[in-house]
Amino acid sequence: MALPAHAGKIETIWYYTFRVLCGIIFFFLIAPIVIIIPLSFNSVPFFTFTSEMLSLDPAGYSLKWYQDFFTDLNWQGAVQNSFIIAIFSTLISTTLGTIAALGLSRSEMPAKTVVMGILISPMIVPLIISAAGMFFFYTNIGLASTHLGVILAHAALATPFVVIVVTATLVGFDQSLIRAAATLGASPVVTFFKVTVPLILPGVISGALFAFVTSFDEVVVVKFVGSYEQRTIPWAMFSGIREQISPTILAVATMLIILSASLLATLELLRRRNERLRGMSPG
């Protein structure tokens, strides 16, 4: 949207005002995330820039909140739990979600919209309601305060993301490839692993990433279904913010930002690969 050569004075002013306006909005989006990073190197237990930090005095900076994170059993347990719970719930939700997406995208699937609406409703129901329901039910069947309970709960919450992402990948999927494989003598299983899987893999992986992040970032359900033994990183952050606020939270936040940046990069690479495979973009 370059400024056309014939633009008048008002248009020129508006053009630059608009760009400044957009700049401010982008700043609003990204500044809170960027600002956390230097604050996590604070040498004093405050959530703000000290005068030493502003004058770039090395004494104003320290790694002690990172040290605190890596030596504190509370945090280390949380990291371990977060990964265990997220990995297992991702495996469950990706498997079930992908299979369901394959069924949903078949043209013979009856009542597609209704089924889809039901399958993705865990994403729409407010988390506090899901958490309350799961709390009562999982207590009754003895799954409350167990890792398995939290894993199943997170898997249920994450499947809608897998279903949506994989179904979207399958929209461009050429069903005649499957028939071609069949006419060439491949069994349905061989066709699935040799033809379908390589083509939908980018979609499955991005669905899995969505599922992983959903579980990794979830706190309401863990709080209700789990207990201290199932504490995850967001759980520890949540209670940390409520009880005694320390910059260790900002150190954790900085590491999570790096994690999400690398996730974002992975997704972008997958998207490009997907487009290339389907011949949607030159390269």
Binding site: E11, W14, L21, C22, I25, F26, L29, I30, P32, I33, I35, I36, L39, F47, T48, L96, I99, A100, G103, L104, R106, E108, M109, T113, V115, G117, I118, L119, P122, I124, V125, P126, I128, I129, S130, A132, G133, M134, F136, A153, A155, F161, V165, A168, S206, D217, V219, V220, I233, P234, M237, F238, I241, I249, L250, A253, L256, I257, S260, A261
Partner: protein, 423 residues
């Protein structure tokens, strides 16, 4: 029109096995449909067990009321014959049954919970039940006098009216309190006076704050989506990172960032004091109130508005605007009359999505909302964790869920559930 031709043709045709083509085709179709259903079935079952059963059983708590009738199983049937609209308390027969029920409840230690249940309806029931259960065993007839001697509440007809009303298997009491109604001493349903109608007030606050957050998101998202859709791919992909990075960053990270920025000793206040706009003791209160909730939630939900808007705007050819200009429209008219109507689908998709997420939001208001900035979810959590009035929590949850489902159906009408996209 062509169907008749086809069906006649199909009847006449047979497959190699001699089966009419129509039958064979129907069979193949049925098999294909079953195969599709079979693929969806595992997930459907999984979601049903891990998600739907829990939600339904929780919602059932909002009307379920078996406790009182179970514990007082001799008294309750007798109470059916008692006329609560008169001014006489029940007779000796009912009191005798009540004493037996309490003696049994004391043995099985089950008098506490129905007492607590009735205490929601009329304060005093909890201690009345505990006191009575302790002494019930030693009572001698006539029971009526003996009971009133334990507590003169047993001679108070209001307690009996509440007991009869709440002794059924189901109750509407939780929904009444969730909508700020209650019973007067005569048992009529009345609206709570203004200062006591906290739930309606909170529902309204949740609605208008979600609405404001949605509008703010739209106002902020529209210009940047427009910019993103008009820039060349290389620079728009770069700028899109600024939208996607917050989207992928943990919610807790973003919320703690806003605490660091907005709090009294936070970045903004420090900056304003440093510049001399504020004195050190005149720092702004921007957190633990509505401002904190709104700012942080707009930041959290903005990507959910930008992404659908951007994907719609990308598909609008720039030639539309140029055509409008060449036909004599000024830039403003061209934008409002030609461009904006084309983006309505994106506004609908983003707006409903943001609104749905906002009205059920819990974490951010819980951390930065303080007293005035909390939403209905926070009150549900309070009744689940602190007051332990689970029936009321379930009733509030059911009302919230009803609202969300209506919006979900609206979303389906406007966007179509199978058109939902992520990232």
């Amino acid at each position: 029109m062509s169907t008749t031709v086809e069906s006649i043709a199909a009847e006449q045709m047979v497959t190699a096995d001699g089966i009419p083509l129509k039958v064979s085709l129907a069979r193949a179709r049925r098999r294909a449909r079953n195969r599709a259903l079979l693929l969806v079935a595992p997930l459907f079952l999984f979601i049903f067990v891990t998600f739907f059963i829990p939600i339904f059983s929780m919602l059932f708590r909002s009307v379920e009321n078996e406790l009182v009738g179970e514990t007082l199983h001799r008294t309750v049937p007798l109470l059916q014959n008692w006329d609560e609209s008169g001014d006489a308390i029940p007779g000796e027969e009912v009191f005798a049954a009540l004493v037996q029920d309490f003696a049994e409840a004391q043995e099985t230690k089950t008098a506490g919970r129905p007492g607590r249940r009735l205490n929601y309806e009329k304060p005093g029931f909890s201690s009345l039940f505990r006191k009575t259960a302790r002494k019930a065993e030693k009572l001698e007839p006539p029971y009526k006098e003996a009971m009133i001697k334990i507590s003169k509440d047993w001679g108070d007809i209001e307690y009996w009216r509440v007991l009869k009303r709440e002794s059924g298997k189901y109750t509407k009491a939780y929904y009444l309190s969730a909508l700020d109604f209650s019973y007067d001493p005569e048992g009529n349903i009345v609206k709570n006076p203004g200062e006591e109608s906290i739930y309606i007030k909170l529902f309204w606050r949740t609605l208008w704050m979600s609405m404001l957050i949605t509008v703010l998101c739209l106002v902020l998202a529209y210009p940047i989506s427009y910019l993103l859709s008009t820039l060349p791919a290389r620079s728009s992909n770069l700028l899109l990172i600024l939208v996607l990075l917050p989207f992928w960053t943990s919610l807790l990270v973003r919320t703690s960032a806003w605490i660091a920025i907005l709090q009294q000793e936070g970045v903004i206040n420090d900056f304003l004091v440093f510049l001399g706009f504020l004195t050190d003791d005149g720092r702004l209160a921007m957190i633990h109130n509505q401002v904190g909730t709104i700012v942080a939630m707009v930041h959290v939900l903005l990507p959910f508005m930008v992404l659908p808007l951007y994907s719609v705007m990308k598909t609008i050819p720039p030639s539309y605007l140029r055509a409008a200009r060449s036909l004599g429209a000024n830039p403003f008219t061209a934008f409002v009359r030609v461009y904006m109507p084309n983006t309505v689908a994106g506004i609908g998709a983003g707006g409903i999505l943001v609104f749905i997420i906002a009205i059920g939001y819990y974490i951010t208001p819980a951390l930065v909302g303080g007293q005035s900035g909390t939403l209905i979810s926070n009150l549900i959590a309070y009744h689940l964790e602190a007051s332990l009035n689970w029936g009321l929590a379930a009733a509030l949850g059911a009302i919230l869920l009803g609202g969300v489902l209506v919006l979900y159906l609206l979303y389906d009408k406007v966007v179509g559930i199978d058109n939902m996209k992520l990232g």
